[in-house]
């Protein structure tokens, strides 16, 4: 299905919804093709090839809203699905917070949208790679990963390509086509020494093939970590300073963003409930969003409500500046407008500070450098935090040995209050980024 056909289907769905009784409607039509190849120790392991398409109709009747979706595009299916959305809407409670994005909330006029979308530059114009080409590239990375000193074998190395096209229509005239491409590579390796094994992986993604991390670098990041973690053992249970390495510190940002979600604030299910405008971090903590970085995965002009995204400063000088809202959650909180967060956070960044990482480590007498986390022990409602962890023991300002089989626990509010960001920074191609962060004290449970 091409762009024109998708637009035609979308407009037809809007008409079907209207004639079934919808006062307003939202339609999305998506198509995707994907090719990926995984090899393992030089042998072909997994090949995927797909082309898929689907659509979704949100029908609004007065202030009621219902949904229906389908992957079958027969003419009858279009009309039937639109009607089902309307019928479901009629069964639900009225919701005074339901409305379409107003033209003044759109990123720009409809006629300017294609140009603005093009500026995001999310499409690699080159010819899509064939499965054969992907296999060659996966094999090359796999060889590189297996050649890293100390690595016994690979557990799977992949190279993939995906091309997506998405059409979004609102019945008040908003209409946009967003194409994007995505290249990805990943490798997972096993280091082995004296019968002990440790696995580690690294992945990278980019909208443009040329932006992908080089094979050597990708292989080094996977291999080096696995080798360093060999010989890890637990430590004695005690409270101590915990340094979140930049491999894991972005996850603290994930907890922060979860806690400022407008819906959670409305439900009073966040530990930051009473902290809007007040200091929740040290004054060298600044958290920003960069939704419009060109060529970056996750850059968006508008959110799921079709409200424009904005490069917000979420925390300035340690103060909590705002809640992150959608049309609905903003309205529930009595706020005039949505902040454009119906699709979540967009390229969050905790800005690196002036605090030297080496200096922070040197000042730790006995502490724990966390490099990987396991489990989901984060309670956003209360701030209770307890997860499995591995990393390295710091003694007298030096990293002395690898550690695993421990848990770290604390309360996010207390952790945030004393968190010291360092001067390094993660370089995740997608999602949040942050420097390493030192928390003055957490309970580390081990033997």
């Amino acid at each position: 299905m091409d762009q024109k056909e998708m637009m035609r289907v979308g407009k037809q769905l809007l008409r079907h919804a209207k004639s079934a009784g919808a006062t307003d409607a939202v339609v999305s039509v998506d198509t995707s093709t994907e090719r990926s190849v995984t090899v393992r120790d030089g042998v072909l392991d997994d090949v995927a090839f797909s082309s898929s398409a689907g659509f979704m109709v949100t029908a609004i009747v007065g202030n009621r809203r219902g949904y229906a979706s389908s992957s079958s595009f027969e003419n009858d299916d279009l009309a039937r699905t639109a009607k089902e959305a309307v019928l479901s809407a009629l069964q639900v409670s009225g919701n005074k917070h339901v409305r379409l994005a107003r033209p003044d909330e759109w990123p720009c006029g409809v006629e300017e949208l294609p140009g603005r979308i093009a500026q995001l530059d999310r499409c690699d114009g080159s010819l899509p790679p064939t499965l054969k080409e992907l296999k060659m590239r996966a094999l090359a990375l796999d060889r590189c990963a297996c050649a890293f000193p100390g690595i016994a074998r690979s557990e799977g190395t992949s190279f993939g390509f995906q091309s997506d096209m998405s059409v979004q229509l609102l019945s008040n005239g908003f209409s946009v086509v967003s194409p994007s491409t995505q290249y990805s590579k990943s490798t997972s390796v096993i280091a082995e020494k004296a019968g002990e094994m440790k696995s580690s992986s690294h992945w990278h993604m980019a909208t443009h093939c040329a932006d992908l991390m080089g094979d050597e670098e990708c292989a080094r990041r996977a291999g080096e970590y696995a080798v360093k973690q060999l010989g890890a053992r637990s430590i004695k249970t005690e409270a101590m300073p915990v340094l979140f390495d930049k491999r894991v510190s972005p996850r603290l940002l994930g907890a922060f963003f979860g806690a400022i979600s407008g819906e959670r604030v409305y439900q009073k299910e966040t530990f930051l409930l009473d902290h809007l405008g007040s200091r929740i971090f040290r004054d060298d903590v600044r958290i920003i969003e960069q939704p419009h970085l060109p060529r970056r995965l996750g850059s968006e002009l508008f959110d799921d409500d079709c409200v424009k995204t904005t490069p917000w400063t979420l925390s300035d000088q340690g103060r909590l500046m705002m809640w992150a809202t959608s049309i609905e959650s903003a309205s529930k909180l009595g706020l005039h407008s949505s902040t454009g967060h119906a699709s979540g956070a967009l390229n969050l960044l905790l800005c690196p500070s002036m605090n030297s990482l080496d200096e922070l480590i040197r000042k730790i007498d006995r502490g724990f450098l966390v490099t990987d986390l396991m489990g989901r022990g984060t309670n956003i409602a209360t701030g209770a935090y307890s997860v499995g962890a591995e990393g390295f023991l710091i003694e007298h300002g030096e990293i002395v040995r690898a550690v695993n089989k421990v848990t770290i626990a604390g309360n996010l509010l207390a952790m945030f209050r004393n968190m010291i960001p360092a001067d390094d920074c993660s370089d995740n191609p997608y999602g949040a980024n942050a420097p390493s962060c030192l928390i003055d004290e957490m309970m580390v449970a081990g033997d």
């Binding site: 797909s50 499965l131 096993i190 696995s199």
Partner: protein, 480 residues
Amino acid sequence: MKNTDNAIDPVRYFGRLLGLDAAGMNALVTRALLGAEDGELYLERSESESVSLDDGRIESPSRSVDQGFGLRRVNGESVLYAHGNTITARAIIRAGKELREIATAKQRYEVREEFPQPKARYAGKLTSLSLAARVKVLRAIDRYARKDKAVTNVDAYFAASLVSVLIVRADGTIASDVRPMASMSVTAQCAEGGKREGASASIGGRYDYARLITPGIWKPEVDRAIKNAKEMLRAGPCPSGVMPVVLGPGWAGVLLHEAIGHGLEADCVWRKTTVFADLIGKRVGSELVTVVDDGTLADERGSLTIDDEGTPTERTVLIKDGMLVGFMHDRQSARLLAMRPTGSGRRESYEYRTQVRMRNTLMVGGATPPEDIIAATKRGLYMPSFGGGQVDPVTGQFVFSCELAYKIEDGKLTTPVVGATLIGNCATVLTHVDLVGNDSRLGGAGTCGKGGQSVPVGIGQPTLRLSGGVTVGGTETSPE
């Protein structure tokens, strides 16, 4: 789904889309999988619907239809997979051609199971309730929960699906199945003295809504969610360190599922990514431990008449009296390890290749009444349930979060505690089981994730005690 019997006959339905009869479908698959060692064409149509109650309001009613094909070509250790929404012979031939371009030709795998028509483990239909009727039950749940003054908010939902599949194998086998699923979940938020906590409960299985909408079924779930949320309100900090841990019956078996079950899925055996790979016939648990993976239980979430490769399902004994006696297999792992397929090849949908997966994984009950297990424990922690967990298959390390646990002091359950994390090692954890209750049962409504695919599973165990081998992570230092 309409208000009537809505089952489709997969052979007729997909035959009509393709314009082919059974012989024609076989010819199509032979052509699309030319030179393959094994594989199949998997055709699927799934209809699903859900509606939720949030803060007294009925929200997000949705209905979706998804259909497509998956063409899988297996050669030795490699799997080549193509899928799409367009169910036509042309699209399938094109997919086959795309895969063939990077595949090497192989001898056909000719092992065909000789089996009678498999016995159905559930009714192949879903008599749906109208949306209005479901809404009525959700409102009743809301009213019932709010009778408790501590309750500030109630979330609940109903979801159901009917998945019709047709499998046409490269070896000529044609199999079909129609799989219903219904589930219900409730979350209660409670507040007291400025504190707020929430807890959930859920149930589900391969049956009609009719089973779930009976007050006798949903009331105990609502009661449990409210009780747990209120217990969390008065809970203290969790101790940390090594101590005896008693796990509750039913859903706490998620630890068994994650820490042991995944390591017994034979794809990790031939890939050598499980600590159990070379342990067949060896002791992996105390003699009190017997574990089965059973696809034949009536109406359970993990029950299947046939798996997604067309193999009839079975009850597979994995650990008997502490000895490892078997793995779960799909056709690929069975072939590579010269074993027999156990009907454990499953996939999330037509968009995914099959993997070796658990169905209903259960530890068989022992002899001790559960209350005696608590009474026999001087000091430790009781974990009735887990929120979720993670396992590193290579090192065998596992981590589980427990939202609500209880201290055991002098053989009695005392203070509730929140924020407990449990870590240990898969290879040794079962050797520390020193008491097994007589109360084994399945619990909850489990969905298992592996390699990016989610499938419904059954999870269960009796009350059991781990005398050691695990570390509890909390914020409080343990009293010595």
